[in-house]
């Protein structure tokens, strides 16, 4: 492989949707700064590259690797280990790599349930009921396909990670700011943040960025936003009974969703100091319910029909429990 002497850059996608790659391209002309300052050596979605080329590189020869996606199968884990060895700075990029994100919601289900949904549902044309196997004896020889893990893991549950950049996807202005910083570091004009930092985001919550007016919260009814007859354009969404995840979610997006009239769904992950994201939301939602009567409280809670999905939509794989019993026990009982 030819080299032009510039620091090397890599980006990889594991269990992800590709939105993180689009977010990187959304930095517009700033991408030219990336090209001016870096040699892109590995970026499967943008250029042709082979794993064997990465294996041939000396250890620590890639300066910066942005890793997006969760660890769903043995291929993801293998590439995570490989890129960890070859990279000086490994960034868990985007919600999937940080906390599992939507692919991590599969951690509520057993492998059998996941395969059934993917390969045997009505919308799938699979009359022979063929399921992926990790080994297959073809006439030409034995084939190996990556092994599907029962529980999706985050990147730092597999390898040590230098920086964490949250968001689904990370906002483009935050990516541009991080790239600016790295280029300044390259030119000796700035220092890297302490190892293990969350970069490209704030420390407080989405509520701190939200312009909606907040008063004392007293909720008699939780309601889905689409079922609301009239949405007050200025009042706090949670005060209107809309389950808004702002109180536990890290700031960084500029409160885009609540500003646009939709509840925060928590894509920037837990705010600084929050150990279990769902627990923090349980605390905040329960605190604002305006009732002391157990039966009435239960009726109000019926307004959140899927609490685990509400509280762990992005964070299940990164939470304290990590996965439902069905996933790790594999019996599909839950």
């Amino acid at each position: 492989m030819t080299t032009n002497g510039k620091p090397k850059f890599a980006m990889y996608w594991a269990a992800a949707c590709g939105g993180c790659e689009i977010a990187v391209l959304n930095i517009h002309e700033k991408i030219l700064d990336v090209d001016a300052n870096f040699e892109v050596v590995f970026w499967p979605v943008a250029m042709d590259a082979k794993y064997k080329d990465v294996r041939a590189m000396p250890d620590k020869s890639i300066l910066l690797t942005l890793f997006n996606g969760g660890i769903r199968n043995s291929e993801h884990e293998e590439i995570a280990l490989l890129l960890r060895a070859k990279s000086q700075i490994l960034v868990a990029f985007g919600s999937c790599a940080n906390e599992g994100c939507v692919p991590g919601l599969a951690n509520f289900s057993s492998t059998e349930q996941i395969f059934k949904a993917a390969y045997s549902s009505l919308s799938t044309n699979n009359p022979d009921g063929i399921l992926p196997q990790s080994h297959y004896d073809a006439p030409e020889g034995e084939l190996h396909i990556p092994k599907f893990y029962p529980v999706l893991k985050t990147l730092d549950q597999v390898v040590p990670v230098d920086y964490f950049m949250p968001g689904c996807p990370p906002e483009s202005h935050q990516i541009a700011a991080v790239i600016d910083l790295v280029i300044k570091v390259l030119h000796g004009e700035a220092a890297l943040p302490p190892a293990g930092s969350v970069i490209g985001a704030g420390v407080s919550t989405v509520c701190d960025d939200c312009k909606r007016v907040r008063n004392e919260k007293k909720i008699k009814k939780f309601i889905r936003i689409q079922d609301l007859d009239h949405l007050d354009p200025v009042q706090c969404l949670l005060e209107q009974g809309v389950p808004c995840n702002g109180p536990a979610t890290r700031q960084g997006c500029g409160a885009l969703c609540p500003t646009a009239g939709a509840q925060c769904i928590g894509c920037y992950g837990p705010a600084e100091g929050v150990i279990d994201y769902g627990s923090r939301l349980i605390t905040s939602f329960a605190s604002v319910i305006d009732s002391n009567d157990p039966d009435e409280i239960e009726r109000i809670l019926d307004g959140i029909p899927d609490p685990a999905g509400q509280f762990y939509r992005f964070n299940l794989a990164g939470s304290l429990l990590r996965a439902g019993k069905a996933a790790w026990k594999g019996n599909g009982s839950a």
Partner: protein
Amino acid sequence: MSDIQTFEPVIIGFTCNWCSYRAADLAGTARIKYPPNVRLIRLMCSGRLDPTFVIKALSGGADGVLITGCHPGECHYIEQNYKALRRFLLLRRTLAQMGIEPGRIKLVWASAAEGVQLAAEITKMVEEIKALGPLNWPKWDNGHLDQTVVLQEEVKA
């Protein structure tokens, strides 16, 4: 002997400083017998109970969690036990979706005079958890950040 007879569950019990801890204390000084499966942790108030504590206990090897506080209307901090009640109800729903049986988490009100009642509730809960069997949540071999250390720091603060 069956598994249910040999299985000794670990139950983490959270007590409030003003009522339920004193109820447990009273049970002790009055020499009321109850099974030793419950490990009591004293909080100032049931309202201090962050659901994180419960989830940490269950993910760390506990088979059940007992949350106790002052009777409704008798909270030392006016109404924090109602907050504990609401958090408990929401937490129990959430954990059920994770496959954790609702019976593993229990909320009990006990005044400082109710040593007998608290001991009876603990005895009952130990039997119920024995019937459910061990939870055995996996000991994930690596942590997302270093949560154990962080949690200890938060409890100290």
